[in-house]
């Protein structure tokens, strides 16, 4: 069953002009409109995610991966203009047009975002447990014991030492902080998690362990995910299907194995060859 379906999603920084879409993208070789200077961070993006499925988004730095992922996760950058249509199972209307309260409810119960930058997602002065608890408390949990139990369970599930639960998050290693973000995202049993660059800032050995944990939990919970990475290896490991982005456009999409083994687009071919 389709969980999320998006069409013509675009995120734009700048005033915009009638030429913006034609003058940017893969063929134009830029994401900035030469006429008005507007950055078309992503545009003309059509995609869907099925229940329990993992969709990967790859592309070079600046290709618009985060912009697209954040639009889908209902993250709002006050400087950006976001257009398009996103429908979500069990919800009437366009997710891009919901009011604050609906957005808050969706974000605290249905769709979780794990930020690319740890500092955007955690309050490092709070304890690690407190950061996870915040998600539950914001969703209306009012029993201390229930919150406590759920936080402990999530620490175990994401393999963070439970003994560190009540230490300030700033004393955690990068890998632990990333796990806290994931635990937080899982806290209210959402249907969809948007994971932006899950390996950023982590040592290679830590990267693999965090990804393994996420893959296991994702399967156990049956939660759908959109995983964004500039690293093909991450997407290859986690994603059932993959989108390739360049200059703000999706240039190729398909089953991950197919995209990796038989890339159609020239850019994807160089991307894969450069890794191998």
């Amino acid at each position: 069953m389709t969980l999320l379906e998006a069409s013509a999603v675009e995120t734009i920084y700048g005033p915009g002009c009638p030429d913006c879409l034609d003058a940017t993208g893969d063929r134009a070789g830029t994401n900035q409109c030469p006429r008005c200077g507007t950055v078309v961070a992503c545009a003309e993006a059509d995609l869907d995610v099925a229940e329990g499925e993992v969709l990967g988004i790859v592309g070079e730095s600046g290709s618009g991966k985060s912009s697209l992922a954040e639009a889908l996760a209902l993250e709002r950058d006050p400087e950006a203009t976001v257009n398009g249509e996103v429908s979500y199972a069990g919800h009437d209307g366009n997710l891009l047009e919901v009011d604050y309260q609906t957005r808050h409810d969706l974000r605290s119960r249905d769709i979780s975002l794990v930020h690319q930058h740890i500092r955007d997602g955690l309050d490092l002065e709070f304890t690690g447990g407190g950061n996870v608890a915040e998600k539950l408390l914001s969703a209306g949990w009012r029993s201390y014991e229930d919150v406590r139990m759920r936080v402990r369970e999530l620490f175990e599930e994401t393999e963070i030492p439970v003994a560190r639960m009540d230490d300030p998050a700033r004393t955690y290693s990068g890998g632990m902080q990333r796990r806290v973000q994931i635990a937080r995202a899982l806290a209210t049993d959402p249907d969809l998690i948007v994971l932006d660059e899950p390996t950023t800032g982590l040592d290679v050995s830590v990267q693999a362990r965090v990804l393994d944990t996420f893959r296991r939990v994702q399967r156990e919970e049956g939660v759908a995910a959109i995983v964004v990475s500039h690293d093909l290896g991450v997407v290859r490991l986690l994603a059932d299907r993959t989108l390739v982005m360049r200059h703000g456009r999706i240039v190729e999409s398909g089953l991950t194995d197919r995209v990796m083994e038989d890339p159609h687009h020239e850019y994807t071919q160089t991307l894969i060859n450069s890794v191998i």
Partner: protein, 350 residues
């Protein structure tokens, strides 16, 4: 804000107010005495200012718990000594009113006396120490023990207006949180409090929901006093001078201290303690260590190092000394009025 001029010239550098040097109540009052009231308006503040303050209070009443900005004026008191409270009081008082001023429960403090004197001399009000006789009570850190009625107004002095500042120093971010009733961070603070202490351990400025909408800092009153604000008969105005904000709890408004279902809000308990002066066990007690032979009048003990407990509300304590069984609602025509914590003798335990 308002750019209108009044009959008095304004000192632009201080954002308006009276043009006289106002370092102290004494200086201000001696100026009143030499120049008469000509340099001053009734109740010290000019009419325009008082109207602005009242307008902010009306707004505050209309949106219970919401912090409303106002143009706070320089006052002849050091900031942080109730300049907000006194502006609220002076804007409300009329010549027929009787004022009571308390500072941490006591009418006698220098600060309370100064505020009282300023109001007496400029607004020609009567003053009292008797809670039940006051039309308006300005207070720092306490709500009186005796039940307030629907024709009384309580002005609480506020040093820090936003309960959320405890969890985030950014006022801009906190304003957004209030706008969206987004209090997750405060809940995390409570959660971490329980993690650390096994219970919610916040001594004063207890985060409190007003009318199920706005989170409010009830000023540094003890937890003991917070329940008195819930469904009260009287109007409470909370005013901050330095931060130039006013907020209010109108009569019969729900006021609910934040707490977990399984870690509830509790008031201070004084097990086995009674006021050494009046014997009360149902009042908010504070530790006092008085040297022997001073005011307290206890003639027997010479144990000068022993800490003793005494009622913090000194005027009610005086009444209880006369009449040890005087109920907190003795002045009302109905009894058994729910006001603050129940009497421990009445069967309740911590």
């Amino acid at each position: 804000m308002a750019k209108e001029t009044t009959s008095q010239h304004r000192d632009e550098s201080t954002g308006g107010g009276t043009p006289v040097p106002t370092d102290s109540v004494d200086a201000a009052l001696s100026a009143v005495e030499t120049d008469g009231l000509s340099g001053y308006n009734y109740a010290y503040l000019d009419e325009h200012t008082k109207r602005e303050v009242r307008r902010s209070m009306l707004k505050a009443v209309a949106i219970p718990g919401h912090q409303v900005p106002y143009a706070s004026r320089p006052m002849p008191l050091a900031r942080g000594w109730g300049t907000g409270g006194i502006q609220a009081s002076l804007s409300l008082l009329g010549p027929a009113d009787t004022l009571k001023v308390i500072d941490q429960g006591a009418d006698e403090s220098v600060n309370a006396a100064n505020i009282r004197r300023l109001a007496e001399n400029t607004a020609e009000v009567a003053t009292t120490t008797d809670t039940t006789k006051a039309d308006l009570i300005q207070s720092r850190h306490r709500i009186p023990e005796e039940v307030l009625t629907d024709d009384q107004r309580l002005v609480l002095q506020v040093p820090i207006t936003d309960a959320l500042r405890k969890v985030d120093p950014s006022d801009a971010a906190n304003r957004r949180r209030h706008a969206h009733k987004n209090y997750g961070k405060m809940w995390v603070h409570l959660y971490e409090n329980v993690v650390e202490y096994g219970e919610i351990n916040i001594a004063s400025r207890y985060p409190t929901m007003v009318a199920n909408r706005y989170l409010m800092d009830p000023s540094p009153i003890p937890r003991w006093d917070v329940p008195k604000l819930d469904d009260a008969n009287h109007l409470t105005i909370l005013a901050a001078g330095r931060e130039a904000r006013i907020y209010a709890v109108p009569p019969h408004t729900s006021v609910e201290p934040l707490a977990f279902e399984d870690r509830s809000f509790t008031v201070e308990r004084f097990p086995e303690q009674a006021c050494h002066a009046c014997g009360s066990t149902d009042t908010y007690l504070v530790e006092v260590s008085e040297e022997p032979g001073t005011t307290a009048g206890d003639d027997d003990t010479a144990a000068s190092f022993e800490t003793r407990y005494a009622c913090n509300d000194s005027s009610f304590c005086a009444k209880r000394r006369e009449n040890p069984n005087l109920p907190k609602d003795h002045h009302l025509d109905r009894s058994g009025v729910d006001w603050g914590p129940a009497t421990p003798d009445g069967g309740e335990n911590a």
